[in-house]
Amino acid sequence: MNRFGLADLGIGLGLRTVHYAHILEQRPAVDWFEIISENYLETSGRPLDFLDAIAEHYPIVMHGVSLSIGSTDPLNREYLRQLRELRDRVKARWVSDHLCWTGVASRNSHDLLPMPYTEEALAHVVSRMKQAQDFLGAPIALENPSTYAELSGASMPEWEFLARLAELADCAILLDVNNVYVSAHNHGFDPALYLDAMPFDRVVQLHVAGHTDHGTHIIDSHIGPVVEPVWELLALAHRRAAGVPILLEWDAEIPAFEVVHREALRARELIGEAL
């Protein structure tokens, strides 16, 4: 059990619109669903109707892409208010986002942009995480992003930045092992180093996904099945963070629900073997 007492929900799936009808009609035996929070903001209509119906039957976790915790713009309190409202509405078990920034000067790129891993940036993100968690009244889990560029002037590797941030801000970690793999390939580090540095008592969730290898670099496309080295990282991480829920993300060329579910359930076999 993690230090925050957040439950092991089992093996979950990212909730995608193409699967709404199947989920509502068939009620598949999925442990839980993770939503992209922003898909249910700035709406009063159909997306929320579907979400409400699904939340009646499954635990929901909220995963955001616009907290922009590393941005030097002021924290968007209206956004936080909307997050809090949505969390309360669907009784989300927790809220997560990414160690990144998405925009500055009031512009939002909607991309997860890399941070410079400096002491200045660390102090900045720690301060903002404390404010955001105070606002929500609960710990937020920050996910390690996939990155394609490393900013110059870094004084520490990403894993050290994330571990220190979690400690100083007393926040949780959503460890995405596919992102570890992608960034390790793109920046030439050993993914085991990343896992070795993680404070696993703060890891409340694991992500796994497919990616696209372009040879010169890997893109975190969330497409296709998960590759074996990423499954191996998942097993390793799960051993160290006993009782942590796992979630499969599949966001492009999304196949039938059963195919995505079957892929996610590979985690169960793998964890069984690992244990």
């Binding site: 990212g14 000067a105 512009r107 394609y148 560029a149």
Partner: protein, 307 residues
Amino acid sequence: MKRESTTDALGLHERASATPEHAPANREARVGSAPGWASGELSLRSHQEWFLAVIMTPEHEPAPVDSTSAGRLVTPSSTLSSLARLEIYRRSYQARLIECLADDYPVLQATLGEETFEGLCRAYIDKHPSTEPSLNRFGRHMADFCRNHPFSEPDFAADLAALEWAVVLAIHAPTAPPLTAQDLARIPIESWPEIRLVPNPSLGVHAFDYPVNAYLSARRRGEAPALPVARHCSVAVYRTEQSVWRLELTPPMATLVESLSRGETLGGSLSLVAAQLDGVPEAEAAQNVTTWFSHAVSSGLFSGIRS
């Protein structure tokens, strides 16, 4: 007046945390001049302003950094230069937002063709960068933008975009149960002229210079109709439960629906319509107006009676 659902064909996709796939970006970015602030010690703020300026620069323009400046701010990898690494983010930025606009405007995309639509989107993204956490409203300026875009049929494209955006608005509007004939039957007949109706909260009545509703329907059926000549049409777009409907309105019916939606009394609204039926025998006019009103109610355009 045929009512058509757009639910099945609607490709409203979610946004995700994935990086969209695009053409491999291992080519050198075109090189522009180094910005003056890319020298000396950079604060976190300067880092971010610089990074965002680079990735938001349209692809047809040179990247606003040269390789020396890029190398100072982003380290190269063993396989990619600093500029090539930045280019991944620049292309992802455009690709993600183009995907979003394609979700909102599938028929506009099919009509213009991939290349023209993509060019339109790139220009749109440059003119209207997102300023909100959610992308649900990102495409809201498209109709106006089309009207001023240099392609061959800007007014038709603008009308088509406006209709597709009306569908998006109906999706995101609150859900309300429709007013029924039984609800109306509970009102004493003598009170009918004074009642005011509550419009379905998703209802929008839209006037177009081109018959875009018929065109959109043909496209949804998989046809490739010729671009129509200008002809006025009014369309009510609204949602009942999970279905979004497009209901083409005759001029008198548009008058009736608009008047009731504004909160005018039923009697006042019917008189307004009757005045438009100049030359139609009184009994026939009364019959028509009654039929139109029944049709508007049974179609789900209203959700209640004002107390």
